[in-house]
Amino acid sequence: MLLLDCPWCGPRSEEEFSCGGEGHIVRPTASAEMDDQAWGDYVFMRTNTKGMQLERWRHANGCGRWFNMARSTTTHEIVAVYKVGDDKPELPK
């Protein structure tokens, strides 16, 4: 069971959170010019990293706010929690 550190509420049980998947996926700005390939890649295709991953989480049953996290998908170790809009953290190799 994970103990997640919400940037606003502090450490809480994983039951209060929902995972929003891969982070830093930016919505394309020139959407009118995009072809089906580009839309499909943006909407559906994922890296699905095995190892350290930057991902979005939401404190769904708490403050309700989104934030970012760097977490290993193999060990579940959390190395960084940061707010939406913050720079990507330095990751251990």
Partner: protein
């Protein structure tokens, strides 16, 4: 290969069972094959079996990182059914169910397929309407399906709690009588034995580390046991599909999540059928050993660790105890997780890729076991002919660009 029969059993019993032949061998990797299957689970071994049996491709290998059937094939809750909502899904799952019905004879290996029926419960009028709609869709697609009310439910499964005053009272359910359970390991072993007999090399402890791709065409596979030349590769690696795709610079629309299951201590037969509930998200059957086999929904976050988190099974057990109060003091013996590859539309991907000769069979998510024979059958066709079988044509990667998704999330039954 010695045929398994009552005579063989008697003969070997007289020899104190010392002379049973090995069911499959441990061949040495050849430097080249006509086709290579990556992943020695049920789907991969079935693919190899049908490639050899129906398409005459005998110089092929199945590469398995660990041991055969040690991944999701050995970690599921063994439920087999075909009552999916969309015609594309009903097509492929019903194809699989028909193969299941003759599989023990086909493989000369008892896969213990038991058509004890699968019931999907409805807990409110809205869910009843949805499930009745699915029954009509199933009947139109040639899949057996019927509605069962509380009286019939109490006859089919006396331990089910039909008290109208529980939190989520049961109003009825769908029943697929031809559905049921099978012995999961036996499916992998049966296909492995059959494929080995047809000359297929099953290479265990052989991890794929990369692909040789030249001018957009697959030429070989690099492995921990050496390099292989091959013009055709079929990847059947469930939760690790994205990892293998990345080796070919391909991205897939998959997320890998743990899916947990657990079994109770063995008890006398109390559960004559399989009962699933989407509303409270739990499902239960009883194994021939007497253990109650209980399944849950996926864990919410992406993970490649084959263990799940406790809140998920706590919620499942809460639902099971309400549906089956008789289980409230049972001890749970074991709990585990498999890594399932979840697709956005909850349908599989059986498809070619931008790399010629490289095929993927993945995205089965939480419900792949039931499809094992059908999946292997159509994927073998796809590999051999370099063109999809009509049943897997709707499940190509292109659907994520054309928009022709086969949306099964929630519609058919999210639980598996």
């Amino acid at each position: 290969m010695a045929n398994y029969s009552i005579l063989a059993l008697a003969r070997n019993a007289l020899q104190r069972h010392r002379n049973w032949p090995q069911a499959w061998g441990s061949p040495v990797l050849r430097p080249s094959y006509d086709a290579v299957i990556i992943g020695g689970g049920g789907h991969g071994l079935a693919t190899a079996y049908y490639l050899a049996k129906l398409h005459g491709m005998r110089n092929i290998a199945v590469l398995e990182k660990g041991w055969i059937g040690g991944g999701n094939t050995g970690r599921n809750t063994t439920i087999v059914r075909s009552n999916y909502l969309n015609p594309e899904s009903a097509g492929i799952y019903e194809h699989a169910l028909k193969l299941w019905e003759g599989l023990s004879q086909e493989l000369n290996f008892n896969v213990m397929f038991s058509q004890r029926g699968v019931i999907n419960l409805a807990h409110d009028p809205g869910e009843e309407r949805e499930l009745r709609r699915r029954i009509y869709a199933n009947q139109l697609a040639g899949v057996d399906a019927e509605w069962v009310g509380p009286t019939q439910l109490s006859e089919l499964c006396p331990i089910l709690n039909l008290d109208p005053n529980i939190r989520y009272p049961v109003v009825g359910g769908t029943l697929q009588r031809r559905a049921g359970v099978a012995r999961h390991d036996a499916v992998a072993w049966g296909y492995a034995r059959g494929a080995d007999h047809l000359g297929v090399h099953i290479i265990q402890n052989c991890e794929v580390t990369g692909f040789d791709i030249r001018e957009g065409r697959i030429e070989g596979v690099r492995t921990s046991q050496g390099d292989i030349k091959t013009p055709k590769v079929g990847v059947v690696a469930s939760g690790h599909s994205s990892v293998l795709a990345a080796m070919a610079d391909i991205r897939l629309p998959l997320e890998s999540h743990p899916l947990q299951a657990l079994v109770s201590e063995p008890v006398k037969p109390i559960m004559p059928t399989v009962i699933m509930s989407n509303k409270v998200h739990a499902y239960m059957s009883q194994s021939d050993k007497g253990e109650l086999v209980i399944g849950a929904g996926i864990d919410g976050y992406i993970s490649y660790a084959q263990r799940g988190s406790l809140p998920v099974i706590e919620e499942t057990i809460r639902a099971i105890v309400e549906l089956f109060p008789i289980t409230s003091r049972l001890k749970m013996m074991r709990q585990w997780a498999g890594i399932v590859d979840i697709c956005p539309d909850a349908s599989p991907i059986i498809s070619g890729t931008p790399v010629k000769g490289l095929y993927f069979n993945c995205g089965w998510g939480t419900g792949g076991f039931k499809a094992t024979p059908g999946s292997g059958h159509v994927f073998a066709h796809t590999l051999a002919k370099d063109a999809p079988h009509p049943l897997n044509a709707p499940f190509a990667l292109e659907r994520f660009y054309s928009g022709a998704l086969v949306a099964e999330h929630g519609a058919a039954a999210v639980a598996h």
